[in-house]
């Protein structure tokens, strides 16, 4: 069995408030941003601050906050869609900068909102297969670097963050069974079209920036997430009422409220951490888990679910030792 042993996080220093956004976009109101989107503040990575820099800071925080001996780390999984370079793998750079053993395995994987759940599934596989004993699962994203300055909607929703999770042979949360899914027909609904190998040159138009088809992403979520949750419950042979806490990817408040109503989840069993950080992509779930733990509500059977860019989705059950 694989367990989550510890979680820490890093948030960039610069903060963008709703008041600052409303100054730039006078047609927006603080009430609207805070009410419908559910975000009050978001952290923004510095100009020279890359996702790997943030992941390193989250890992260093993990080592100090939880007294983790870094020499025990034998695998790094780095979830990001903002790598330092096309090559090499950012996880290799992270291994060196963190001073981890050269006997470590290390790889990046390119996922967004479903990335944390996928990372746990990979880490569990490495541990169950006897390949690694202490997997450092890192998530870090700098979507704000991809967003056009005039893109009011996406600037309101997204924030930058990094998290570090130690997955080990023992810990406080047993990682139970997963449900995963993919539908690549939605690849162009959340995309940065240029600067990859398909369209290597910048187009000097909006396709150089993050594009999100909000309505279609919302419909995808309505189509997939309820059945995802049902499958996670069935795979783990538990009932809806046996779940003590649901933690979903923190997309935006309206979507979360809608899912909560659709799935008939009680308020006290639905934990979110959105207003102070925004949608931090692959970091939303571990950030919420960290703060749920601080508030002492992370206990019993916890269902986590991530969904979005790809389309890609995944969920699993965590059994928390109390």
């Amino acid at each position: 069995m694989a367990y989550i042993k510890a979680i820490s996080y890093y948030l960039p220093e610069t903060i963008l408030t709703n008041e600052q956004l409303v100054e730039e976009f006078p047609e927006w109101t603080v009430k609207k941003v805070a009410g419908k989107v559910g975000v009050n503040r978001r952290h923004i990575a510095g100009n020279d601050e890359c996702a790997s820099d943030m992941a390193i800071k989250a890992a260093q925080q993990l080592f100090s906050e939880h007294q983790v001996d870094k020499s025990t780390i034998d695998y790094i999984l780095f979830c990001t869609q903002s790598p330092d370079y096309i090559l090499p793998t950012s996880a290799c750079i992270i291994q060196d900068k963190l001073g981890l053993n050269t006997s470590c395995g290390a790889l990046d994987f390119n996922l967004g909102c479903s990335g944390y759940v996928y990372g746990l599934s990979l880490a569990k596989g490495l541990i169950a297969g006897g390949i690694a004993k202490n997997v450092l699962l890192l998530t870090a994203e700098t979507y704000t670097k991809h967003i056009h300055p005039a893109d009011k909607g996406n600037r309101t929703i997204f924030g930058d963050a990094a998290t570090a999770t130690l997955v080990s042979t023992e810990g406080f949360a047993a990682i139970a069974d997963f449900s995963l899914g993919t539908d690549g027909s939605g690849f162009d609904k959340l995309i940065v079209k240029t600067q990859g190998c398909r369209n290597p040159q910048t187009a000097n138009d909006s396709s150089d920036y993050l594009y999100m088809d909000g309505p279609e992403i919302f419909n995808f979520t309505l189509d997939r997430v309820p059945s995802l949750v049902k499958t996670v419950l069935a795979k783990n042979d538990i009932l809806h009422e046996d779940v003590d806490l649901f933690i979903f990817h923190q997309a935006n408040q309206y979507m979360l409220d809608f899912l909560k109503d659709t799935l008939k989840i009680d308020d006290e069993k639905f934990y979110g951490y959105l207003s102070e950080v925004g949608n931090t992509v692959s970091s939303t779930i571990p950030l919420a888990m960290y703060f749920a733990d601080k508030e002492q509500v992370l206990s019993g059977n916890v269902v986590i679910a991530g969904f979005g860019v790809g389309y890609s989705w995944g969920g699993c059950l965590l059994r928390i030792k109390n």
Binding site: G153, G214, L222, D223
Partner: protein
């Protein structure tokens, strides 16, 4: 489905606009309160109250509330 109820349901997707502003013929994207987020709220309303999936493109192509009503009606037919 009846248009009167649908107009009321449509109006419930807005927070600041007076209910009296909403008629079947209302060009909803001309309302001051209209923004891209409202599209999500309308999609959510159609899903929840009418069990009907409406796309962002369909909302974009609709001009009046009656257009959206006709769309949802045709999908339910």
């Amino acid at each position: 489905m009846n248009i009167k109820q649908f107009v009321q349901d449509f109006a419930s997707c807005f927070e600041d606009t007076a209910a009296s502003e909403f008629q079947a013929t209302t060009v909803f994207k001309d309302l001051d309160e209209w923004d891209s987020l409202t599209t999500l709220v309308i999609i959510g309303m159609c899903s929840k109250k009418y069990n009907t999936k409406v796309t962002g493109i369909e909302i974009r192509e609709a001009a009046t509330i009656a257009d959206v009503f006709n769309l949802v009606s045709s999908k339910n037919a």
